[in-house]
Subunit: 397 residues, 2 copies
């Protein structure tokens, strides 16, 4: 096929304005042999319930092939929505199947949220820092960002002021945040809800990591405290497998109907076969034993990294890191002079990968932080990688 | 979950402007017991290669579970793109794997095309009539429509004039069109390309039905005649199964890269497991025997409906229908006074479903046509359904 375009594509202003993909090349680098990658946001394949999914695929294609291979309900297969509702009720989130829409991975929920709420130039409120993939999905709808105030404990909703007027929704990772690993206290969750009611914005609670707690369950969801103004996104990528591309949205029925409508126009539906597979493994009780296994794996890796940081990191007043109680990430802060983006090529030379902190900001990025992901790296390599990282940082002090 | 929204959602202008879903309720009605539905656009489940897909799922989850269940390349898994390139080269469409992007059903390709080319108010050129699902996907980007001129043989590109200036792309179903079943001649394809070069618009060639020919292969693709200014969409929904939600785009590399970028921000990637399943069945040679089976099924159903129309339809100068040489649809034209939308409730009362023709127009709908789909209805019921339809129409003459 010829690539000599006599006719240049006249892109939309959205497409013309898309920045280069930041995460893609980093993830690509992470697959080179020999490199120790703290860069990926990928769940650990150790935790994939392969056998259960294989049996579920076989079951779907034996018991209901014509249905599993046909188009699906745009809102999601009824069996899966029923299983999700049961599961969420068990987690303390009162949910009816009609409060659930299934999406093709929670990334699609982020994109759809921006599309149905945001006109170009409308404001979305985001944390400092926040999930880069959410910013990328939102950017397709050309919003502006208002950043949430912060204090030494992280996001500080009590400090939200008039900058929140006109905000369409606040996008919040309240539990085991990406990229910081931090968790918002119940008190701060309630403060956020107060501010949402005062300034009349919706809360989009992104909750892909809530089940990945190490020792104790995280605080109640924001949605359970304010179901009338909260939309919550959950993902099967961490508790099942990302290759299924399955996530779901819970919220008031009116909002769910709009998500399902936009979904039906954008992709018709999420694949039916993967939905029925997920419904089957849930109905068979997978989560009752599987989640404990995942938690054990993730906890061991987190502890290995925290121990290595304690052991190797230079004792310096400008160096600190978060101590997550669940999830996949540690947020490392370095002295202000060290630019982690500029440091990255040197790190890669040392066989080490991380994500520079500046990629995680809606507006004014800070440059002296990095996100460390530990779940796909063996405990031995975590120790070796942190040792290399500490040596590299020491050389810059 | 409470539904008393104290805070009403402030939808984007796009969401607020979304019309009610037309196809959804029609498809829903089609599943009621006793009804004979010529309404669905669903492929026949008789043609699903269930056993092959079951073996492919087993193979993926045995041979490469960690990969099949992990995130995928946003442009699509390399094995699947290689198989697609090989297959398209065999069909006379010179294609390199880098000219291919995999999408979550070709509906997603329609949505992405509008997003990356169209600012609100920009023009898309469409046929009269055209695929309603494409209009729905495009509407998410708020375009305006310019309709292609037509003559007694259908779309007439030679008549395109200055109304094409500024059009971002022309959306064309050239082969076994939805909804008419018509196929554009090679001469008209070349005329369209001339007009595209003259007025500098791209051609989006939607080609989901090309393999569903009854007796002889359709004309060469528009893309093979003008690869520099054509983007082509293909679907696995008809040749494999729609529940997989797999489609692909072929085009110049620059355009493919933009599709992949938008795709990565919107959904990260298409599910990996379904992609590897499709690559496996293609590598195992499924299409070499499977497509003949599908063609045989579709041809038999088309012939049954054409025979029934000949037998039962009133002989009236205002009544005519298309004679498709492939695909899934027949387009029935009635005398101008008969409004098929108004007739629909009566048809449903008679246990009969079709899609009113007025849903298939970008701008000025005509009301006296209907789309008849025959592939999911048994030959016996096709005859009975057409008999009922003919009686209903006779009563209105």
């Amino acid at each position: 096929m010829s690539d000599t375009n006599t006719l240049r594509p006249a892109w939309s202003s959205m497409a013309a304005g898309l920045p280069e993909d930041v995460l893609g090349p980093i993830l690509a680098n992470g697959t080179k042999p020999g490199i120790i990658s703290f860069g990926g946001g990928l769940p650990s394949p150790e935790g994939f319930p392969t056998k259960e999914l294989e049996r579920a695929a076989e079951w779907c294609l034996e018991a209901m092939p014509k249905r599993a291979l046909q188009y699906s309900d745009p809102q999601g297969e009824p069996e899966l929505r029923a299983e999700i509702a049961k599961y969420e009720n068990g987690r303390g989130n009162p949910t009816d199947p009609d409060n659930v829409a299934v999406v093709t991975g929670s990334q699609q929920a982020l994109d759809l949220a921006a599309r149905i709420f945001v006109n170009p130039g409308d404001a979305i409120m985001v944390q400092r820092p926040t999930y880069v993939g959410a910013l990328e999905a939102f950017n397709l709808s050309q919003p502006r960002y208002v950043e949430m105030p912060e204090d030494e404990e992280g996001t500080a909703p009590a400090l939200i002021g008039d900058e929140a007027d006109g905000v369409k929704f606040a996008y919040i990772l309240a539990t085991f945040s990406n990229p910081t690993g931090r968790t918002m206290t119940v008190e701060r969750r309630k403060q956020l809800i107060e501010k949402a009611r005062e300034h009349r914005f919706w809360i989009v609670e992104d909750d892909p990591y809530g089940e990945l707690w190490y020792h104790r369950k995280p605080p109640v969801s924001i949605q359970s405290l304010a179901p009338d103004c909260t939309i919550r996104f959950c993902s099967f990528s961490k508790v099942l497998a990302p290759g299924m591309r399955l996530g779901y949205i819970t919220g008031p029925k009116e909002v769910i109907r709009m998500f399902a409508k936009a979904q039906s126009y954008a992709v018709l539906s999420t694949p039916c076969i993967t939905q029925l597979m997920a419904a089957k493994v849930m109905a068979d009780g997978l989560f009752s034993y599987h989640l404990d296994d995942i938690r054990r794996i993730y906890r061991a890796h987190a502890e290995a990294m925290l121990a290595a940081l304690d052991e190797f990191m230079p004792k310096h007043p400008g160096i600190s890191w978060t101590h997550p109680e669940g999830g996949m990430f540690i947020w490392l802060t370095l002295p202000e002079g060290i630019d982690t983006m500029k440091l990255l090529p040197e790190a890669i030379e040392q066989g080490l990968l991380y994500v520079p902190g500046s990629t995680f900001y809606g507006n004014s990025p800070e440059s002296h932080q990095m996100r460390l992901s530990f779940v796909t790296v063996s405990e031995e390599k975590i120790r070796e990688g942190v040792k290399r990282l500490a040596a590299l940082i020491s050389s810059k002090l």
